[in-house]
Symmetry: C2
Subunit: 621 residues, 2 copies
Amino acid sequence: MLFVSFSIVNNKYTTLNMSKYMSMDNLKFILHEVLEVENLCSLEKYQDHDKQSFDILLDATKDHSDKVYYPAFKEMDEDPARYEDGKIIVHSVVGEAMKIAGENGMIGATFDYDDGGMQLPHVIYTAASHIAECANNSLTGYAGLTSGACNLIVSFGDQELKDTYAPKMMAGEWAGTMCLTEPQAGSSLSDITTSAQRNEDGSFKIKGHKIFISGGDHEYSENFIHLVIARIEGAPAGTKGISLFVVPKLRIKEDGSLENNDVVTAGDFQKMGQRGYCTTHLVFGEKDDCQGWLVGAENKGLKYMFQMMNGARIDVGLTAASTATAAYYASLQYAKERPQGRRILEGGKKNVEAEQTLIIKHPDVRRMLLLQKAVTEGSVALLLTASKYHDLSVASANEDEREKYHDLLEILTPIAKTYPSEMGRISINNGLQIFGGYGFCTDFPLEQYYRDVRIMSLYEGTTGIQSLDLLGRKVVMKNGAAMKALTAEIISAIKAAGTFDELKPYAEKLKEASKTLEETLMHLLQFAMKGDHERYISDATIFMEMMSNIAIAWQWLVMATKAKETLVTGKTIFESSFYENKIHTMKFYYKYELPKISSCKETLMHSDTLTILESNKEVLA
Amino acid sequence: MLFVSFSIVNNKYTTLNMSKYMSMDNLKFILHEVLEVENLCSLEKYQDHDKQSFDILLDATKDHSDKVYYPAFKEMDEDPARYEDGKIIVHSVVGEAMKIAGENGMIGATFDYDDGGMQLPHVIYTAASHIAECANNSLTGYAGLTSGACNLIVSFGDQELKDTYAPKMMAGEWAGTMCLTEPQAGSSLSDITTSAQRNEDGSFKIKGHKIFISGGDHEYSENFIHLVIARIEGAPAGTKGISLFVVPKLRIKEDGSLENNDVVTAGDFQKMGQRGYCTTHLVFGEKDDCQGWLVGAENKGLKYMFQMMNGARIDVGLTAASTATAAYYASLQYAKERPQGRRILEGGKKNVEAEQTLIIKHPDVRRMLLLQKAVTEGSVALLLTASKYHDLSVASANEDEREKYHDLLEILTPIAKTYPSEMGRISINNGLQIFGGYGFCTDFPLEQYYRDVRIMSLYEGTTGIQSLDLLGRKVVMKNGAAMKALTAEIISAIKAAGTFDELKPYAEKLKEASKTLEETLMHLLQFAMKGDHERYISDATIFMEMMSNIAIAWQWLVMATKAKETLVTGKTIFESSFYENKIHTMKFYYKYELPKISSCKETLMHSDTLTILESNKEVLA
């Protein structure tokens, strides 16, 4: 109705067409030109793939995203997942998406042939996920979690578990979930109390509550295979006493038919965003009749879970980056269509007789658009780079190489999860601002992106937890091996950029930034060496902000260098403006974003200790 | 239901009690100890007031806020304002709030006795508004806009207009609105097209659409008095041809009865937040029968409107600060009640046998809480300071003083609107993070504050517009007189703080910061002097970020100095920990926030020009 009224008073105003929600050009530039993913196909594991097969898969994903995922994006928000009469109601597109993922083999895409998979490189899987998540960030989790749960079974389960569950899950018929959180155990998983009691037949009796279970129940999957962490009776306290179980909603009887396994859906959390993605509360074994089957060895559950965690964390970062990408294109289009005000002309006078200009011509709007471009394309580049490292860590012929890329993946994962979540939110905030008051209105898409993205800095370990992981574990692991490997990558990027006069000043800036990071880290490490671990780690979140800023500066320098190379050689795939814009956006990042590390350093090296509670002297009354 | 399930599995978890939504102690500390508002009563205009009468008014506001405003806060969100059968439906508390405001004289509180007001200092009105807005940020606008509209009438209207409208409005019986925005004219008010055609009786025939009209219609006010800007036929183009009209929803017939004035409510914008505050689309004169009455002189409408704008902008900043204050207290309480994880002990080992600690003991959580305290209390201090300057600008005996305080108010207004809006959003984001996954759920209060606050950087001039106002107008006005006056205030605060050894280093930091700002401004001014106004102004938003950061650092130094003085003299009103916490929070601000100005300077002084569109060479494809 409101749109109609706009047209009454302003014929020039057109209803927003939101068809562009991501850039295939940008994706293919990063994959083919920057990361040269085709080279992966020279590795034995990926030898059946080639550039063409990658592109076919990506184009097919784009097609489904256009036709199925994107059209349901707003509907899922307006008709949210909810709990009614003991059942979870979700949008019917959930069933369609599971079917598509199953039919296309995407659920087991990265699994080995032996496990029924396609041995697709993770970097291509990540790229495909990016397309789908840009189209609909609330939908992709259903198949994504099924893939993650199934991956745990095929990686650590025995043959019987694999045979029982994997085929149905990979076909998209049965859904999978990850059940970690309990009301008293969120960030602190060592405190879970869900119990497992040994049955005579080797199975376990499971009992406990799990909350925040994404995709935990709905009518479009025949069965739900929950991967549940629980404590076997008598197990040691803390993380060392946690085991992993397969707990189906319906268990399989001898004759192959399904029967109730005493898994009760107790509710669905109503959320600010991602409203189409159900977030359930499950009760296991209320009637003492819930059976679970151990995956792998006893008390190794959290270790297994964490071997999958890199993937899950990268996917959260990717969902954030994708949500922000879709928001960027929506605000870019609006800025190109919305007239408002006039450019400041020479002398600063406004010419009121002139027609209004399009807002994309105002410097402040351009700054907000370029920020979005810098954040989202930088994030996507980092995520794809991390995914390629994943592939090299499992498929490189050389063991040292595998170890190096494993270390790189380890140190990049908390950054690749956190930067897109935190800066993606800020990016979307800028996109919303471009819409003016309309950005706050539900008739326009930005407010949904703004709500949706907010969960990403909470899912799969909050920003605080990621920052502790980065500074407390990854930076110091193996005597700093991962940090050294990353620094070597950055130095190599600086060298490559330095061969072009236009890029040299920015390469120098990254060199300085890298040195600033090192000095700051050395300062902090003094406290760790003195045994003052709380002080060492107390500002880990600021350290994360600093280091992730530099990681994205590195990605931008790499992209700009490739763009420059392509322009110089003339072997352009896209229009030359595409490559020029890449270089321009790199410069934008180095002017507007990279300088923020100075203030991070100042904070991290400040002598006041203000956030560490001293002998219970509470200043927060 | 979810709360119940928590108690099943975790007896220690208590349902969140949200009764504390603001701090009267903090408010009274700023008013009485820092600003010494009692001194205003020595001015002739305010001589009938005293400290006791101020406190009675504030305590009464707290009482209404506790009993009426706060209980409706969540309800208004869940049962949002909406358009049904040609009518706007709002929560019934809107009627109650209008009645309370009318009965207490709050609508005309700051007006002169001659206009039926109480001659209450603005600083006290602002303080009272803060209390009410902390309780319910979506409710206070109804009476607040009525006050603003009535103020325009009593300030610029003729006696007949005053007599006709002011008494009913001040009594809370008739509501008032401000009608500026049109679909094609948001930030660019010079482009409004609503027309006014002279009638024979001296009234005007009004015709046009107005959108985003807050509080524009509902069943709880007998009549709506719209203050509408429109263009009289033949008026000059641009802002110089805009006149102001009173356009009632129902016009008054000779016999005093009311009749329809052809003002049609065409819809209500559905918003992400402030859902209880209706945002209407009004159509004037669709049947050519809408009468309006000119306020003041022709073509002076925007000038009148802008004389009220300082107040409106400060109120938006205040609503942001108040929303963030309420969010701070909710997250503080949660942090005090939620156990999760353990403190990092000497040696960095976790003791899994120990009970979980309360999250308020984790440095990262303390950082997020202190950030909220620093942002919200700093914002409230700035807003109250600006309001006191308003009082001194109208009531000082000395003309030079009045001018000085007018200049200070002019330069602080865009900052006092923008800092709380932008940093209040970030503050609430940190509050939400403290709740973990629960922060994203509608059963907990943070997500509503997060949604509500987002509009504040759009209302009454976006952050971009405020920044243009600051750098393009206020900083340079009267040859920099306002800037000089502000610098003098800051220098005087530095001197006062410098008398205490503990505060000296921070006073030095503010001195440096002030110098950094000056250097940056001098750099930018070169471009203005060369006539390159677009370059001068292109990063105005970054300049705003820098200058507002320093303004809050100034406020914190002032508060810390007063706290220190009080501790030294022993004349404490509150517990000594209250004053110690103020000093602690000042230090926090200087460690974690003030350093950000370095990166702003680096960006502002960078030689690349990346956001100015060069000869239509579009990099944003």
